[in-house]
């Protein structure tokens, strides 16, 4: 049931192929219009696509993480986060432990990168670590590792590059066309009187394509992204055997009003919730990378088991559609019924509260920012910035002088 999810991307692949065809058509028609030769346009389209691919390859994950101002952490910096990631790595059957990053931001979000599943990374915001309990964090990390395991990062990178090429081509072509129309439109039409009708048809098709292609590509892109989001939710439920954890995490994420400061359009599908979600916006329509949070929560809450087929059943129950699910068929048939586990920790035990989680998180952030920690005997804790000079510091609470 695990590999199947990864390999059964047929529908997604068909959509990617549709986008590629769109690119070929737009290149051909524009070539026909500008040079009277479709092949020329096609070559230009492919060259633009190749350049964007190179850019995408080289400005890889490190730059993405850099733009998000993410800091890499080790096991000692934040043991709980590290452990939860390792637990999900085991549950998902990933072979290599992904790198873990923290983003110093009060917004609640998380994302995964890495086109190669052996060189992947997950990043979470500090706000997320402070607000979520262990089960909820597990659900979110399960969702992110599912993106890695299902190879969504690769798929979405391919999609966004195709989309980018189509948008760039149409944009430039429309500029050139308008420029031509203003400067030399008259001359073109009069000098080629004979082929006028054919020319006009090509012009009309080109115009239509320039307007429609970027929109169509965008819609395909969103459709692929939303599908992968559902699948990642289903996989997270399968890994954790506890869909309520992810559901309750999504409730907190949806209620949070903070917007991520360093979000990036290209990486939007990799976040657990859409980082560009505006307040009060019903993020439910076709023009979103993510399905609406409330719907994702309702599906997860309606699950009576942890298998992908159960997720599919819950999805259909909520949509009340006749037999059309969201999870690929082979992912369903391969898995039997899988029962849920109970909430952890078992009733009666206490989990670290918000205060403790906040200190745990800021402790990790100070460590990765290379602050030195000094504990005064009176119980006050001082943290000195890496640029701190001088060899003693006075405790403001008890007045002791502590040598650094």
């Amino acid at each position: 049931m695990w590999e199947q999810i990864g390999s059964n991307q047929r529908k997604s692949v068909i959509l990617v192929v549709a986008m590629a065809l769109l690119l070929v058509v737009i290149g051909y028609v524009l070539g026909l219009y500008f040079f009277g030769n479709g092949m020329g346009g096609l070559i230009i389209a492919l060259v633009v696509w190749a350049i964007l691919n190179l850019v995408g390859y080289f400005q890889g994950d490190s730059i993405l993480l850099g733009m998000a101002k993410a800091k890499k952490i080790s096991r000692d910096d934040h043991p709980r986060l590290y452990n939860v990631v390792e637990e999900m790595k085991i549950a998902s059957g990933l072979e290599k432990m992904p790198d873990i990053y923290i983003i110093d931001d009060q917004a609640l979000n998380a994302f995964a990168t890495g086109r190669d599943i052996n060189k992947a990374a997950v990043a979470v915001t500090s706000g997320l670590l402070e607000k979520l309990n262990r089960d909820e964090l597990q659900g979110v990390i399960g969702h992110e590792l599912a993106h890695i395991k299902n190879r969504d990062v690769l798929l979405m990178t391919m999609c966004s590059i195709l989309l980018g090429t189509i948008v760039i081509l149409s944009w430039y072509a429309s500029r050139v066309m308008f420029f031509n129309a203003m400067v030399g439109g008259r001359r073109t039409s009069s000098s080629q009187g004979g082929g006028g009708a054919a020319q006009l048809i090509i012009l009309a098709v080109a115009l239509l394509l320039m307007i429609l292609a970027p929109i169509a590509a965008q819609l395909i892109y969103f459709a692929v992204s939303r599908k992968r989001e559902y699948l990642a939710d289903a996989s997270s439920a399968l890994y954790t055997r506890y869909p309520d954890g992810l559901a309750s995490a999504l409730e907190k994420l949806g209620a949070s009003t903070c917007q991520l400061k360093s979000a990036n359009k290209a990486t939007a599908p990799m976040y657990i919730v859409n980082p560009f979600r505006k307040k009060g916006m019903a993020a439910s329509d076709l023009s979103s990378t993510h399905p609406p949070i409330s719907e994702r929560i309702r599906i997860l809450r309606a699950m009576g088991g942890a298998s992908p087929s159960e997720y599919d059943r819950a999805y259909q129950q909520i949509h009340q559609k006749g037999g059309r699910g969201i999870i690929p068929g082979s992912a369903i048939s391969a898995a039997g019924a899988i029962s849920l586990r109970a909430a952890s920790p078992a009733a009666g035990k206490k989990e670290p509260g918000e205060m403790q989680r906040k200190r745990e998180t800021s402790d990790a952030l100070w460590k990765v920012n290379k602050y030195r920690t000094i504990d005064c005997e009176c119980g006050t804790r001082l943290r000195l910035p890496p640029g701190f000079r001088g060899n003693r510091v006075r405790c403001p609470h008890c007045g002791r002088t502590i040598s650094v």
Partner: protein, 187 residues
């Protein structure tokens, strides 16, 4: 002549199918092996954590000698049978899981202990190790299920029979965190 070509073609196709099915079985069997190795790693980690835990709690829990001894005893037993088969091991490990669960439940009534930084760190490690054991068991059992299915469905059952792929055992174990939760069942 033509017949020879046709027969030759069929033989080649059959060989290709055989190799593909064989490789699929090998891949699944390796996955089962890796999953088993992962369980091993986590169980070893559990055994390694216990002496540390004992050292930390014994100063606080003087009146809980029985509980502490039960854990130590179960751990020693589990270590002794570490190289035995799945059945023996899972019994010993379940015992240890139950003893640990009891210890942690008792620890809840010692506020001093719960304020101890060392204990808190150990508790996080222990909780996570118990989780990792149950997740690796979960993945192992899923892998076994898939492998066993593959050895039983036609046509790869023929390949499995010829090349000697045998069905594997599932691994059942109780961990400290799931004393009262329903067992994961595969139907």
């Amino acid at each position: 002549m033509l017949a020879a070509y046709i027969i030759g073609g069929i033989v080649v196709i059959l060989a290709v199918i055989f190799v593909a099915l064989y490789n699929a079985l090998v891949k699944l069997r390796n996955q089962v092996k890796n999953a088993w190795a992962q369980i091993d790693v986590q169980l070893k980690r559990r055994h390694d954590l216990i002496p540390n835990l004992m050292e930390t709690v014994k100063g606080y829990m003087k009146h809980e000698r029985e509980t502490l001894e039960a854990v130590t005893k179960a751990r020693n037993l589990a270590q002794q049978v570490a190289s035995s088969g799945a059945g023996v091991r899972s019994r010993a490990e379940s015992e240890l899981g139950a003893a640990l669960g009891k210890l942690i439940a008792v620890a809840e009534s010692y506020p001093d202990l719960k304020a101890n930084q060392n204990f808190l760190a150990l508790q996080e490690e222990l909780t996570s190790t118990e989780n990792k054991i149950s997740f690796s068991r979960q993945y192992y059992n899923d892998s076994v299920l898939r492998y066993n299915n593959q050895t039983m469905v036609f046509p790869s059952s023929l390949v499995a029979g010829m090349a000697g792929f045998k069905a594997d055992d599932f691994f059942e174990i109780t961990v400290a965190a799931e004393k009262e939760t329903p067992k994961v069942s595969f139907t």
